[in-house]
Every structure is written in structure tokens, then in C-alpha cells.
């Protein structure tokens, strides 16, 4: 017989599942399960804790933890290192929070996850007993750790976009977008591309598209977290990118660029202007293959009539509500955001500090000459949309900005669809 009865059991499993559903009780559902109960627990607890962070690129965290452990023999910190991939770090944290794992005490969260984790009730509010002093920190970085008026995560490192340019071809850096576009003729004369950022369809596109929108006075979300993309400012911002791509001022291959590809094009001397993060500075000035070592110029991102609004990168430190030793966790958190630690981060790992004072520190500036420019960038930065629906918001931006830049979709339609998609995500309650 040719009947595939062998498929029956799978169907049977389905029926079984239905009958079991009463007992299994939706295992694995998320929700405000953490709630305020857990936030009251373990506030005075002291003892060994675990610090969770993504790949420690330049070996900064280990020495710091060794130092802490030497001073706190009874409150030792164990370092749990995650992968280098942001998505996987995110998923790993979610899995552990869902399992109410008390083993993840202090966690390093990307600025864009802070609101989501806070809204899920996984992060200890940093107030009352757990309060920290943020007055010395750059304001946009503090905003990135704040959700609904409460601080949930302490800024640890920051990051802002900057404009790299060729000093040999452009005498003074453009201050505005229009000025930069007018300089594209220089690129044409030299037979190179004019401007590129990261326009591949991934998180970097959200960064670049938001920068374009924010720099021209628009915003992705308003103060209440509702989408606000149906404005002329937003339209001008995104149109600028689309127009530059259509003109060829943004080379066509930029549609495949992520950070590394765009850096490579610039280092090979194929670009006049590049929007990228501070890490490019070190590599472009030291890498053997770099053709722009001696002609590298650096400026704030161009805006309407002054510096543009960079998207904010970086990481915040948060305490898990499930931690049993929150007093120790708070001390460690303060230690990790202290001036000394921040300075170590900057010198050892080229990670941008969140403390205003360090940007004027002569020793640091000597080592990282881009700091003054970066300060301007971060001061003018807009945190990427602070919303618990960040994955949906970034998806809405990417899916619509991408065809808009490529010219496959009108900017109006793209913005209208972004608006609708974000509204829908927020309405999912």
C-alpha cells in the first residue's frame, strides 16, 4: 500500500498537544512576569556575582575584573563572555531572563535593547537604594538608559558616527549636507566615489537612515514613543539619501556596504567622504593596506546648518532583577562606570567614554585624537528610537528605507509604510 500513514503520528502529536495545553500552561511565554516582586528582592545581598558581556575585543574586561576581585575577595565577579554577534548576545540574555536565571547578575546591554528589557521587567530600576549618579555623563547616553522616566541601565561606553574625509582633496570639512554634496564634483574629477555610509539592509541602515532623518529635524518616534515619520523634515532627510544615490554621489555599491566594506572602500582611496564609527580611525591610520594614512580628515557629521545628529551606539550596564546580590552588583556597576575604568576602556579598547570630562583629558586626546570630534558627535546624538518594540521599529525602517534609497519606492510611500508598520507594532497589545 502506498498510503503514507507514517505521517499520522505527527498529527497525533498535534492532538496530544491540544489536550496537554491545560497542564503545560504556556511554558515559555514572556510577559511582565518579573514584575515588581523581583525588583524588591536581594537589594542588600552581597556575595559573588557574574558579569555578562559580549566578546571582550581588546582584553579590557578581564584586567578590570581581576582588579575588582583583588579588592573584593568575598564578592568576586565571574566574567561570562558571550559571542561577538549582537543578535546572539540579545537572544542569550532573553533566554536567561526568561528562565529567571539568578546567575546573570550584571549584564551589558546594547543601547537599543535597554527599553525592551526594561519593559519586560527584567532590569532593576536604578533608583532609591539602587540609584547612581549620572550628572557627569553625556546627556544622550543617559537618555539611552532611561525608559519611561526611570533609569534602568548605567551608560558604560558610547559611540557616535563621524565623517571621515580626504584632507588632500578637500581642504576644509563640509559643515552641512548641501556643502558636502557640492564637493562631490571633486570626487568626480578624481574618479572616486563621493559619499558612503552603511546602506546594506541591516541594523546599520537604521543608524544611517535615522541620522538622515534626525539631522534634518525629523524624528522616528516622538516623546511618547509613537511614530512621527509623516513630517516634512523626515521626508527631506530620507530624500537626501535617495537623491544622492540616484545622482551617483553615493556609489551604487554602497547598497551592499556594512561597516567593514565601507571602511575598506575608503581605505583603498575609493571614497571622498565616509560616515563611520570611531574604530575606523585606528585602522585607517595603521593598517598596512591603507592608502589614506596621511590624508585622513575627521569632522562631525554634516547637518542642515551645523553638525548633524548622529545615532548613538554603545552599551549600558544593568542589574538583573533576578540577581540575589544586588548590593554587590551596584558597587560593581559603579566601579565599571568610574572615571578610572572609563579611561582604561578608552586607552586600552578605544571605547568612547560616557564621562564628559574625559573628552578634555589631555593624555587621552593625545592618544585618541578624534575625541573632540566624537564629543561633538555624541553631544548632538539622538539615541536610536527608545522603544520596547525596537526589533519591529528597526525592521520597519530597514524594509522601507532600503527600497527608497535604491529608488524602487518613493520616499513618501516608504515613510508612510514605516509609520504604519511602527503603529502596528505598538498596537499589538
Amino acid at each position: 500500500m502506498k498510503t503514507p500513514n507514517f505521517l499520522l503520528p505527527a498529527a497525533a502529536a498535534g492532538i496530544l498537544a491540544l489536550t496537554l495545553s491545560a497542564c503545560a500552561g504556556g511554558g515559555g511565554t514572556t510577559g511582565g512576569g518579573g514584575g515588581s516582586g523581583d525588583a524588591e528582592q536581594g537589594l542588600d545581598g552581597r556575595g559573588p556575582i557574574t558579569y555578562v558581556q559580549g566578546k571582550d575585543n581588546s582584553n579590557v574586561v578581564r584586567p578590570l575584573i581581576e582588579k575588582w576581585n583583588a579588592d573584593h575577595p568575598n564578592e568576586k565577579v565571574t566574567f561570562k563572555e558571550q559571542t561577538d554577534q549582537a543578535d546572539q548576545q540579545h537572544d542569550d540574555l532573553v533566554q536567561h531572563f526568561q528562565a529567571k536565571d539568578a546567575g546573570y547578575d550584571v549584564v551589558d546591554v546594547d543601547v537599543v535593547w535597554t527599553a525592551e528589557f526594561a519593559a519586560k521587567g527584567w532590569l532593576q530600576p536604578l533608583k532609591d537604594k539602587m540609584a547612581i549618579d549620572t550628572s557627569a555623563m553625556l546627556k544622550p547616553t543617559v537618555e539611552s538608559g532611561t525608559y519611561k522616566g526611570t533609569l534602568y541601565a548605567a551608560p558604560q561606553t558610547s559611540d557616535g558616527g563621524m565623517l571621515y574625509y580626504r584632507k588632500d582633496l578637500v581642504p576644509t570639512a563640509p559643515k552641512t549636507w548641501d556643502e558636502m554634496m557640492s564637493m562631490c564634483s571633486i570626487a568626480k574629477e578624481n574618479n572616486i566615489g563621493c559619499y558612503a555610509g552603511q546602506f546594506s539592509k541591516y541594523e546599520g541602515l537604521t543608524v544611517n537612515a535615522s541620522e538622515a532623518i534626525n539631522s534634518f529635524g525629523g524624528s522616528v518616534l516622538d516623546k511618547d514613543g509613537k511614530p512621527s515619520l509623516n513630517t516634512d523634515e523626515a521626508k527631506t532627510g530620507l530624500e537626501n539619501l535617495a537623491k544622492a544615490y540616484a545622482d551617483g554621489n553615493i556609489p551604487k555599491e554602497a547598497i551592499t556596504y556594512k561597516e567593514e566594506e565601507s571602511r575598506q572602500a575608503f581605505q583603498d582611496g575609493k571614497l571622498l567622504f565616509l560616515r563611520n564609527w570611531p574604530y575606523v580611525y585606528n585602522l585607517a591610520t595603521t593598517e598596512g593596506s591603507s592608502k589614506v594614512k596621511d590624508v585622513l580628515g575627521l569632522a562631525a557629521l554634516p547637518g542642515v546648518d551645523g553638525p548633524g545628529a548622529s545615532s548613538l551606539g554603545g552599551h549600558n550596564l544593568a542589574v538583573s532583577v533576578y540577581s540575589k546580590n544586588k548590593a554587590t552588583a551596584l558597587d560593581f556597576l559603579k566601579f565599571m562606570t568610574s572615571e578610572e575604568t572609563e579611561k582604561f576602556y578608552a586607552t586600552q579598547g578605544s571605547l568612547a567614554p560616557v564621562l564628559t570630562s574625559l573628552y578634555e583629558d589631555e593624555e587621552l586626546v593625545a592618544k585618541l585624537p578624534y575625541l573632540p570630534v566624537l564629543k561633538t558627535s555624541i553631544e548632538n546624538a539622538v539615541p536610536r528610537p527608545v522603544t520596547p518594540f525596537y526589533p519591529a521599529v528597526t525592521k520597519a525602517i530597514q524594509d522601507n528605507a532600503y527600497p527608497a534609497i535604491k529608488g524602487e519606492k518613493s520616499v513618501e510611500d516608504a515613510l508612510a509604510d514605516m509609520q504604519k508598520s511602527i503603529e502596528s507594532a505598538g498596537a499589538g497589545s
Partner: protein, 298 residues
């Protein structure tokens, strides 16, 4: 036509025939070599690029010269350097250990199941087959969260068994199906005649059937081992620093700068990971050939 000319013509014909046969043989052999060369290029060209990149100085990552340039061993040092927390050496051992256990266990219980399915008559056979196949139909990405919770509840997080058992389940359906399909092609009459000669059924199975099935068993073993060797998704969420396999260790490779993708180090790691596997297969291949000779009995 006269007799003589006929003979000559025939002889000429035969000669020509022989020559054509020889030519055809040569041509066939030649085609085999051409095909083999095409296969080699297709399979090895991208791998070649991996190796070339692995030996390239990180500062020249995007160099596109076909031949190696800026050759350095730095990337291999980076891969094995433990000071940055790369546990690549340990991870390599973990992967081998997990792979061997997964292969051995899944083959053993897979052969049981396949024997039952191919040789025994019982009710619900179709149900069982469907159940086993059904296990290969659920998106793997959706298995992680429930497994995470299950293993957290029973305190298995980060243990070897938390990595081994899922891997066994992933390779079992394929193992059972291939073994079943091969088992039913077996000349089981041989088993019967062996039993007539005084073997027990167990002996008959071991001494007659197993050697015949050797190519199939080793193929299945290779499939199982590589599948476990390649597994990443589950391991990335369920392993700990001490138990992580190479796939996870490679994903942990980071550049010296944030945002920098250390292609050269990743390719070095890929090279290191591939070599033992190829050696392993080459060693096993002798076994397969041995199995083949045994199969000539048939």
C-alpha cells in the same frame, strides 16, 4: 566478394573495432579525469580562498590577489591565543568529543531501529517511521527556547549532555532512514545460509551483514559526524565556556576593534577545523574500501 577479401575486411573491421574500443576506453578515462578536475576545482576553489585569506596579514584582509600575499601565521596564533579568552584548542577537543559520542550513539541506536524497521514485522511501523521523519520537520530555530527551559529546569545547562542529546536527535532521523533503506537492499539470504552453517542470528548479523553494510554504515557515520561537527544554533545557546564546540568558538572571534570583522582569523579557524575532518574521512575511506571488498562476496 571473394573469400580472401572478406577475411581481410573482417580482420580490418576487428582491428578497427579493437582500436575504437581502445579509443573509447581512453576517451572514457580522459573524460573521467576531466570530470574529476572539474569536481576538484568546484569543491576546492572557495576553500582555497579560505586558506589564502587565512594566511594573509589582517591589514590586507581585502587583498584580491589570487596567489598568497602578505603571508603570515599571525591568524593561526590569534586563533589559538588564549589570552583574549579564545578557547579554540579546548573547543576543538569538545567538538571531537561531542562528534564522536553523537556518531557512536546515534549509529548504535539507529542500527537497532533500522534493523527493526527493515527486518521485523510489527504493527504501527508506518507510525514509527512517520514519527521519526516528523522530527525533521520543525524549524530548528524554534527548538532553542523550549530546550533552553527544559535544560535549565533539570540543571543541564552548559553540560556536554545538553549538546550531545539534541545532536543525536538531529542526526537520528537521517541515520535511521539511510540504514533502513540500505538494510532492505541487503542479501539477507546470506544470513540464512550462515545460520545453516551454524551461526547464531547475532553472529550471522555481525559476520555477514555488517561487513556488507560497511559502506553504508561508514557513510552514515560520516554524515552524522559532520552534521554534529557543523551544529551551531543549539550549541551557541546551550553551551558554556568549558563545553563550547568550535562553531561557537569561531563565532566568538572578534577583531581587535569593535565592528571589525576578523575575516583572516575566522578563515584560519575554518582551515584548522576542516583539516582534521578531511584526515578523518581519508582514514575511514580505507575502511569503506575494505567494506567494499567484503561486499564482493555478493
Amino acid at each position: 566478394m571473394s573469400n580472401g577479401t572478406a577475411t581481410t575486411a573482417l580482420r580490418a573491421e576487428q582491428d578497427r573495432g579493437r582500436k575504437t574500443a581502445q579509443n573509447r576506453e581512453k576517451w572514457a578515462q580522459g573524460r573521467t579525469y576531466i570530470s574529476a578536475a572539474v569536481i576538484l576545482i568546484w569543491c576546492l576553489a572557495p576553500a582555497y580562498w579560505m586558506v589564502v585569506t587565512a594566511f594573509r596579514d589582517v591589514g590586507f584582509t581585502y587583498d584580491t590577489s589570487i596567489l598568497p600575499t602578505h603571508v603570515t601565521l599571525d591568524n593561526f596564533n590569534t586563533a589559538f591565543d588564549t589570552s583574549f579568552g579564545n578557547r579554540f584548542g579546548q573547543a576543538l577537543l569538545n567538538s571531537v568529543f561531542i562528534g564522536v559520542v553523537v556518531t557512536a550513539v546515534s549509529l548504535l541506536i539507529g542500527v537497532f531501529a533500522a534493523y527493526a524497521l527493515a527486518r521485523l514485522n510489527f504493527r504501527f511501523k508506518y507510525l514509527v517511521l512517520g514519527f521519526i521523519l516528523g522530527a525533521s520537520m520543525f524549524p530548528g530555530v524554534a527548538l532553542i527556547t523550549p530546550l533552553f527551559q527544559l535544560f535549565t529546569n533539570i540543571g543541564w545547562m552548559g553540560t556536554y549532555q545538553a549538546l550531545i542529546i539534541p545532536n543525536i536527535s538531529f542526526v537520528l532521523p537521517l541515520t535511521v532512514y539511510t540504514m533502513t533503506s540500505f538494510f532492505r537492499e541487503m542479501p539477507w539470504e546470506l544470513e540464512e545460509s550462515a545460520r545453516v552453517d551454524g551461526c547464531t542470528q547475532g553472529q550471522a548479523f555481525r559476520k555477514v551483514i555488517m561487513p556488507l553494510a560497511a559502506p553504508a554504515i561508514f557513510t552514515t557515520a560520516i554524515l552524522a559526524f559532520i552534521s554534529s561537527w557543523n551544529e551551531f544554533l543549539i550549541a551557541s545557546q546551550l553551551s558554556s565556556d568549558a563545553t563550547q564546540p568550535v562553531t561557537v568558538a569561531i563565532a566568538n572571534f572578534a577583531g581587535a576593534q569593535p565592528n571589525q570583522i576578523p575575516y583572516t582569523a575566522i578563515m584560519a579557524a575554518g582551515t584548522i577545523v576542516t583539516i582534521p575532518l578531511v584526515i578523518l574521512v581519508l582514514v575511514f575511506q580505507r575502511k569503506i574500501v575494505a567494506g567494499l571488498t567484503a561486499g564482493a562476496v555478493k
